[in-house]
């Protein structure tokens, strides 16, 4: 086999350069397709990584119990679960007690989110959540107090810890220790201000910069003495015992609930799943758009290659008469179409990241860089170039040399 690859590449480069505008426009089709694909992959990767990173930063040592069962991801997209704020939770205080006594469990913290007006010097935005929990949460979710202290078991019922942003919103300052604010008319004294996390997307689905944390019993009182538990955060005694702990918790809960599976015990990646439900939906839709633009880009390549072949019929005849075999001719055109698609793909990869980063500016997470995205961008462009360049190049190769030579155009 003669090594002609290099001269084919040189030839393709020359011919693409000669038709700069045409090549650029054809590449644009591929660029848009690959760019949207890269942006989607980078952003959705960033979104799911953010949550798994949080879990990893806790040593991965966390089990979460939520009411209701986890649906398959497909169902998540087609039948989005309504927010269950108004429904009675299937997890009760009894379950907390039972889980605390389960082997390998170190700490349990319930999460109960309430709605109500937070008022001090000014009224907090409506979206500011009120979280009723136990002091263990600080340890489990690794919450850091900027100023003052977190809740503890001995402290007065009417005390609260606030997020930094909330403190600014209602008091106009970050240092608000000892000041009083009201929730639903009930006064609370600030004992601590949380450090800024700046991370509203997390496995607790709470914006920790904007919330007021009150004692679990105080929260229950506010809710007509009903514990409306959205989630239980559980820490195992060691990372290696995590799965055992999860199994034990499952068993305990099954006993408590009379065998009914109206709860889910989640570890690792499962935790991030419902949170990234929205991303699944967005990813699905944009992937479809990306696929369509890739197909259209590919048809563009095929179209341009057919024009090129027709334009160079005579050249094909000349090349054949000078000793080019059918393979040489088909490689020549295939490499040209590969040149278009790979250049378009590389441009698309770059543009995709530019888009991803500029969109990321408005989001709370940044896109990920990994080799899988680069590889799939490259693979898609190579596949496109081959798939849509094959027919024109074979057509070129099978032209009759005499007829081609007699073609005057």
């Amino acid at each position: 086999m003669r090594f002609l690859l290099l001269s084919h590449i040189q030839n393709a480069y020359q011919s693409l350069r000669n038709n700069r505008a045409r090549s650029a426009l054809t590449m644009l089709g591929v660029t848009i397709g690959v760019a949207s694909m890269t942006a989607i992959l980078a952003l959705s990767g960033g979104a799911s990584r953010i949550i798994s990173n949080q879990i990893d930063s806790l040593g991965g040592n966390i089990v979460i119990v939520r009411p209701g069962t986890l649906m398959k991801s497909v169902d998540n997209i087609t039948q989005p679960q309504p927010s269950r704020d108004y429904a009675a939770s299937s997890i009760t205080e009894l379950d907390i007690k039972a889980i605390e006594n389960t082997p390998h469990v170190k700490l349990v913290a319930p999460i109960m989110i309430l709605r109500g007006t937070i008022r001090a010097d000014s009224v907090a935005p409506l979206s500011s959540p009120i979280l009723a929990t136990t002091p263990e949460l600080a340890n489990i979710s690794n919450l850091k107090v900027h100023d003052g202290q977190f809740l503890d078991d001995n402290i007065d019922q009417n005390t609260a810890v606030v997020g930094k942003q909330l403190s600014i919103n209602i008091f106009g300052t970050e240092t608000s220790i000892g000041r009083t604010f009201t929730i639903k008319g009930q006064p609370y004294v600030v004992v601590g201000v949380l450090e800024r996390i700046n991370n509203p997307i997390n496995y607790n689905s709470i914006d920790f910069d904007n919330l007021a944390i009150i004692n679990f019993s105080a929260g229950k009182k506010m809710n007509q003495n009903v514990a409306q538990i959205q989630q239980l955060n559980i820490k195992a005694d060691a990372y290696t015992n995590l799965n055992q702990a999860a199994k034990a918790i499952d068993k305990t809960l099954a006993k408590n609930h009379g065998g009914e599976k109206d709860y889910s015990v989640l570890t690792g990646d499962q935790i991030s799943q419902p949170t990234s439900q929205l991303f699944y939906t967005i990813t699905g839709v944009t992937t479809a758009i990306a696929t369509i633009s890739l197909v259209i880009g590919g048809i563009g390549i095929m179209n341009i290659m057919l024009v090129t072949v027709a334009e160079r019929t005579r050249e094909i005849g000349i090349r054949k008469s000078l000793g080019a075999s059918n393979n040489d001719i088909s490689w020549q055109f295939l490499i040209e179409s590969l040149g278009i698609s790979i250049c378009g793909g590389i441009a698309g990869y770059i543009v995709g990241y530019i888009v991803a980063f500029s969109v990321g500016e408005y989001l709370t997470f940044s896109p990920v860089f990994n080799w899988q995205i680069a590889l799939s961008a490259l693979a898609i462009s190579i596949i496109m170039g081959t798939l849509f360049g094959l027919y024109p190049s074979l057509r070129a190769a099978h032209k009759d040399p005499i007829e081609s030579l007699n073609r005057h155009n």
């Binding site: 005579r314 050249e315 393979n327 040489d328």
Partner: protein
Amino acid sequence: MRGLQKRFGIGDAENFVLNGIDLTIKKGEFIAIMGPSGCGKTTLLNIIGLLDRSFLGEYELDGRSVDTISKHKQARIRSKQIGFIFQDFNLVPRLNVVENVALPLVYKGVPRTKRLMIASDVLRSFHLNEREYYKPYQLSGGQVQRVAIARALVNEPSIILADEPTGSLDSRASHIIMEELSELHKRGNTIIMVTHNPNLTTYASRIISMLDGKIDTDTKPTIIRKPPVSKRHKKLNRRKKYVYKMKRKKK
């Protein structure tokens, strides 16, 4: 090269462009093929050059029947043994002169720098080295013709097929080209040339004249001689003279 015998039709069976040609060409011959337009000279050349495969009959090249050689192998033979000089030059318009000349070397697998150097050397022997980076359309007809010949010679083929190599040149330029071809002939190359110009056949060692897809005469001139006149032409001439005489008589 020996045993060249063929008979074939193209298109529908009625229309034989070449109709029963038996021909043996020996290595090192300089053959001039003559004949009126449409008698199949170019077709014959294309078949000899392995460009045209759709023919009936037998064609042996170097003792091997062409039918038994694969398409790929035929391309290799074209690349290594055969040089084409076309009637209408057939340079690639988007490549410059030196790249055009280097084109056959691409398919021999010569690396780029080396093949451009070789091409440049060949162009120098044709006094075209100042025009190396011109595009074909920037050259005069004679220059284009010389580029086309340089391209045919660049891969040092043993067989050179020339289809009216001097078609668009004046007689002085034609003779320069013909000198070049006969020089190649002296070096032992086989040259098969199609021409309309009887003056140029003086360079050939063998003259074949064709008529209606058949070989009419096959002569080997020893001295410079007049263009060969076919029997049919003689007949036509006699008739013309006769008609002319009759007309004068009537007057």
